[in-house]
Symmetry: none
Subunit: 195 residues, 4 copies
């Protein structure tokens, strides 16, 4: 066989890396960062323990990249909304924003669980914290804009309140899972905000 080209190597690398990241995300979110060993991740990803260190300098670095990757995904989703924002009424935009949040919450429970568990736990992992903070600011800005469009005078502080509200709901939902009446809470919240 002809030797692999650089592109082929590059692709193999990318595939392996992705496999590892996906496996790590799943395990971190379900079992928590500390309860997930490199061994488990390697097995789950179908690769060897040693290979992991070929792509990530340490377990902490892997965590950081998991978070980055996940948040990028989330951002992509939310940007879809923004594209159409100008074509619809402000109220509708707000409603859509909220609907989007709940949709993402349900569809990415794993990621949310991970994010929350990290948020409270990694004062000693600044690089990871920074990534999470950055994303939070982005979301806040979006909310400010949408609330401003909806005529909220205190949109600055109201955005913070809304963000807190949503994160609080997410937190409770993730803790109580099946017993939490997410649908009712969501409807009530939207009703309250979009009147």
């Amino acid at each position: 066989m002809a030797p692999r080209t650089n592109e082929q190597f590059e692709q193999i690398r990318a595939e392996s890396k992705t496999k590892i990241l996906v496996a790590a995300l799943e395990l971190f979110a379900i079992d928590g960062y500390h309860n997930t060993s490199i061994s488990k991740i390697a097995k789950h990803a179908g690769i060897s323990k040693g290979l992991m260190y070929n792509y990530f300098a340490s377990k902490e670095q892997l965590l950081k990249e998991v978070v980055i990757l996940s948040l990028e995904d989330a951002k992509k989703m939310s940007e879809q909304l923004l594209q159409n924002l100008e074509e619809i009424s402000p109220t509708e935009a707000l409603r859509l924003s909220l609907e989007l949040f709940f949709q993402m919450l349900i569809e990415n429970k794993t990621l949310w669980k991970l994010t929350f568990s990290l948020a409270m736990q990694i004062s000693n992992m600044p690089s990871v914290t920074a990534v999470i903070s950055k994303m939070f600011e982005d979301i806040l800005q979006q909310f400010e804009m949408v609330l401003q469009l909806n005529g909220y005078s205190d949109y600055n502080i109201e955005a913070k309140l809304l963000a807190a509200h949503l994160d609080g709901i997410a937190l409770h939902f993730l803790i109580f899972e099946k017993t939490y009446p997410l649908e009712e809470v969501k409807n009530k919240l939207i009703a309250n905000y979009c009147k």
Copy 2:
């Protein structure tokens, strides 16, 4: 010489136990449960590693008692409110409840940090989870009552919304600490709820 009296032993025990509980609470809250080793706790408390096991059967049991102790403190505070609840107007009661929450949040940052960090991390520690869940239910009931008195028809689901709102605010406050405009958020929240 004669051995110590029972009272003397009791006092020594109480002091040591408290020392350990306090040290554990601080470290658990700052570094998280998994990042806090028994060694660290012992050093922080100024005792030997082995002594911990004289008072707590395991690290998990220590955590449980830390949580219980902290929640008892919190409960005492909140009960102060309930005493006067019937003498004041419903609106005032709601305002007081919210004020109380923020006061407790500020005064017991450590406990809140611990609670949140635990909430996402200890699905496999039923005994601890149970204690936290119990407290959450208690708070929820209080909110339901106060909201009902304030004429909220959907007081059931509104209580859940309020609880989420408060926990969300607490979460953000604990993450961003000094940069979080807690006072403004608090005033706005109270204004929104007590109109």
Copy 3:
């Protein structure tokens, strides 16, 4: 009250010591030496951990004295037999010796268990081993004498065989306990030796 006399102190000491020895024997025999902690022994004896060190320099020393005490008891029993040995026929003496052995085995299962478990385990505890060896020699001499009286020419080596036979039976009985047909084995053995 008048101060205690020396005799009273002496008696208290003796009682405490005995309590500890008895407790230790029971626990050592049931759970094994290594699985029995000083704490357990103290609790079982109804005294404090510290007091034990008032009477025994170490756990190993305690073990040694337990063994000595137990073997002395055993010796007393066997000496009862010897007293009457001259009044009965040699065959009867042999039968009685064997009967005595089985009786002691059944009545002192605890001690036997302990002895066996020690015998194989304490090459690194010479002081204890010495005591056990000494007793074994004593027993062997008795057997030699009785076998000689019964006309065994090779009484020297036959005594060793007999001792081994009895210890083997004891070993199996202690391992299999209820399922071991001790009575049948005993009758057959006696029948074989006393014909």
Copy 4:
């Protein structure tokens, strides 16, 4: 470089595992299970402490495998006898059985020591006990058969007596080692049984 082939890994594993098993057998037999720490075993085997857990799930599992391995060796030896059993006279078969026992005792002192020391100490380790019991039953059956062929009417109970006799001799030999007249005892025993 290319990773090792499966065969290479297999061989490395086999070698390490054997090193550990051999080291463990020796130390368990000499010092007893409880007095032998994983650290000691690792040092004795010339490997790191952690590596043991790459091959054995726990110290108890290691013990179990040590016992199994040893008993397999023993079984192989005894099966050599059975092959020729039908070609020789019953008396000769019995004599051979006994000779074999003594040969195995001398050649596998370590294993015997281990077996005895375990027999009295591991009532709380069912998995290990089961293996040992199984082997004992096998041996008993063999004895029953051979004794029956030799015309013993009570071969059932006589087999138990014989097994006890042999184990008793082994026990004494292992305790007193060099000072025990094993050869004389063996000859006398065979003489007694094969007349």
